[in-house]
Point group: C2
Chain length 492, copies 2
């Protein structure tokens, strides 16, 4: 069974066939860096981290581009309101780029903790103004954009005469027309459906660049079109993002690409579903988000305890990425238990060695093979990590039977045993992207050992005293016997 | 005593007086991202991390800009040869931006390990092409640059008629003239002293942008001029970098600023000295560099063991930044001992409590006060971290006397005791930027405990068995008694 991907564009699962195998070009809409990353960011990043990892695992050479939006994302989608980053900068009395830098750093920190792989290229919107201006010039030249008072707007009506505005999102232009208020001469746009490619900067606007149309800044949608084309070419394989970006952002990207270079940018459009909390969408714009750091330290009032990065990662992977994911403490705690079980099994692997025996257990063999196959079937079915995880638990059970001696390893052929160990390892680390977490705080172990040491010293059990002292020395810990107290320090 | 800074421009120590207190603008030349960071990168980054930290400690509001050079740095300083990143990309068969991204990530990883603070803004050269083009346009307009075959060169001779080319580096233009070979009509430059502001791109050149002069790429020097001015203004307080950048890079920056906006960019120019290995300069261009990861894992043949990030940090800080620093295993090992001693003392601080007593030890008081003063005197004398460290060792000695009970805490007034603890803490963490390193691998402690557990079980010493089992449970470790063996797993 080969990899199948749900394509938002065709509204069905399609066989994955890259344009120029073995190369795969993949673009993911990254964060607008004006706030700390929350679970919604994590879901999108982890989802496409899995896509990236699995494609690499299958042998594809993937160029993975994920942008940083540091300009042009306005507070509402109608090209009005403040730039999100400039507003935050004003509130915090900083240069906008200081805000963008700080939240970019936090994004990297949190994604690293979740073991999300860094993309091959991470372009910033402000770093590609020239490319955006050049894309806009092409659109104007082709007759799909117009200048008005120093701003440039995409002409949706003109575009729709030749192309299909709504092809991705399924929106119908007649509905869009009747659902938007009439402009009443209040706007410089020809139609309320038009969107900004370039906005003239007001005098108080800090983030601005010179352009053929005067001083201004790019619209939010054009950045992805310009950066994706620069690093992946006009047509590439996968474009991903959160489902909320389908309209208008991705719809506009398609229109911009068609209008500038005459091709739809991506072959496969993939969208991850939203996180809900008590059934409501979670996000900064909804005002009910929980930061990742708050999950990691348990400081948000909603949370009954801290949840480790790998707990969060497994939690996200339990659901297929196109389903909504509702958070609750009960299910987070279950994810914690689940991850620790998988980790414990992973840690036993080096301790199990294969011993040949003559009689084989055919039923057991079949079960193991089935679990291995299931892991791949799950991933091949549009990256269904929920299925892959259930296969991991089945494998974990078999491995534990070997480890505890309930089943002799020789009950299955060596080849199958090796395949089980290899598949479990590869899925744990490379494909699902888990890392070991250490739940033992070693200093308190040392402190507890010193308690035993003190008791032994008082009881004059000097062999025990020597044993513990030697054990700690091996660990690089020097026991310090002082008047009336015992403490420890690192050996220097 | 107030802060004094050695200014390369005046060749003397000057009282530090920022242009607009309490604000300080500081620019540091960051890495050219075409290779893994080595000790030379670490020295520059740690040096200016100290400058940044100490200025913040003194109450200044610092905007700290450190760039990423991802285009335009050619293999030799005469505007010839390959772009360093493009060459690496060709060797590795990657898009240049993939190379830049990967080594930027590695730079961040290693600097984070050294606990170097991230700058407030970290601009990339490729992200500021518009700003560089605009700076070049100003220089042309002012008559200090000319176009030749689609490239733009800075006219050093024209500049030197009005300004002083050599003001920073002390180079004398007559010497420069006689030391450069005649162009013999081989070059499009008017004079061999001229340097490129913009280079026409050959057809095979990948990194290129449209400009008023055709398709090309910026010269290396202009990026810093454009980015520093964008984020810090035309004139700011501190410009830093390695001593090897004084000429031509920083000399050219001054010329570009004077020629474009009529002012020298920075009030104070600070340069850190080089690392030597067996007396020879270390660096990628000298072919004898040791990567930071090689220090951290001890894998380089020169190294007799691994040296932790904090060992490297302390090693760098032992010398004043304007002295050369030669590396040897003996001195690295000494740095390891030194850091562990400071760390051990830092970890004892919470364990010492003050108890009032009537008789005071005047001599001891005076010694403590002297050590505290010395720490500040060292830092105020051009960031002499070697002096500050010797003050730390003196303080460490006093603290250990309190800890072991050699001296009663009450021998000094509570105020002074608190000041000692506070100064030691602030210098350890904020000013010198150390972090705790954990040298205990907790898993092996657990394994060793299980050995004791097994012995006890065999000897039927069940109280000991229960004691260890309880101790491990407290640590989140479940003891697994199996047939013929004992193991552990995380509690799930």
């Amino acid at each position: 069974m080969s990899l199948h991907v749900y394509n938002t564009l065709s509204r069905q699962k399609e066989k994955f066939e890259p344009i120029k195998p073995p190369f795969v070009g993949m673009y993911l809409c990254g964060p607008t860096v004006y706030g700390d990353p929350h679970l919604g960011h994590a879901r999108s990043a982890v989802t496409f981290d899995i896509v990236y990892r699995y494609l690499v695992h299958l042998g594809y050479k993937v160029r993975y581009v994920r942008n940083i939006t540091d300009v042009g994302h306005l507070e509402n989608d109608a090209d009005e309101g403040d730039d999100k980053i400039a507003k935050k900068a004003r509130l915090e009395q900083l240069e906008p780029m200081e805000v963008a830098q700080a939240y970019t750093n936090n994004y990297h920190r949190d994604m690293d903790m979740l073991n999300v792989k860094r993309p091959s290229i991470e372009p910033r919107a402000t770093g590609h103004i020239i490319e955006q201006i050049e894309s806009i010039q092409k659109i104007i030249k082709n007759g799909y954009a117009y200048e008005a008072e120093g701003s440039i707007y995409f002409d949706v009506e003109a575009y729709h005469k030749k192309f299909n505005y709504g092809i991705l999102s399924g929106r119908v232009i007649e509905d869009l027309r009747s659902n938007t208020r009439d402009l009443d001469g209040q706007s410089e746009k020809r139609s309320p459906l038009d969107f900004a490619l370039w906005k003239k900067a007001n005098p108080e606007h800090i983030m601005r660049w010179n352009s053929p149309w005067g001083s201004g800044f790019p619209g939010w949608h054009i950045e992805c079109t310009a950066m994706a084309a620069k690093y992946l070419g006009d047509r590439f394989d996968i474009h991903g993002g959160g489902m909320d970006l389908t309209f208008p952002h991705h719809e506009c990207e398609i229109a911009q690409s068609e209008a500038s270079v005459g091709t739809s940018p991506a072959k496969y459009w993939m969208h991850n579903n939203m996180i809900t909390i008590d059934g409501k969408k979670m996000g900064k714009s909804y005002g009910n988000f929980i930061n990742l750091q708050e999950f990691f330290d348990g400081s948000h009032t909603f949370l009954e305890q801290a949840y480790s990065p790998m707990t969060i990662r497994l939690y996200i992977l339990q659901a297929q990425y196109r389903s909504t994911l509702d958070i609750s403490n009960t299910s987070l705690k279950a994810a914690q238990v689940a991850f620790r079980k998988l980790l414990n099994t992973y840690k036993t692997l080096p301790k199990i060695s294969y011993t040949e025996q003559e009689t084989k257990d055919d039923k057991f063999q079949a079960e193991i093979q089935k679990a291995i196959d299931l892991a791949y079937e799950g991933m091949n079915d549009d990256f269904n990590t929920g299925i892959a995880l259930s296969a991991m638990f089945a494998m974990s059970g078999f491995i534990n039977q070997f480890f505890t001696g309930q089943k002799p390893t020789g009950a299955v052929p060596k080849e199958l045993f090796d395949k089980l160990v290899h598949t479990y390892t590869v899925f744990f680390t490379d494909v699902l992207g888990f890392v070991e977490e250490n739940y033992i705080s070693s200093e308190s172990t040392v402190t507890s050992l010193l308690e035993i040491y003190k008791d032994a010293k008082e009881a004059k059990a000097y062999d025990k005293v020597d044993q513990i002292r030697a054990l700690l020395k091996k660990e690089g810990v020097a026991v310090k016997d002082m008047k009336g107290k015992v403490d420890w320090a690192y050996e220097v």
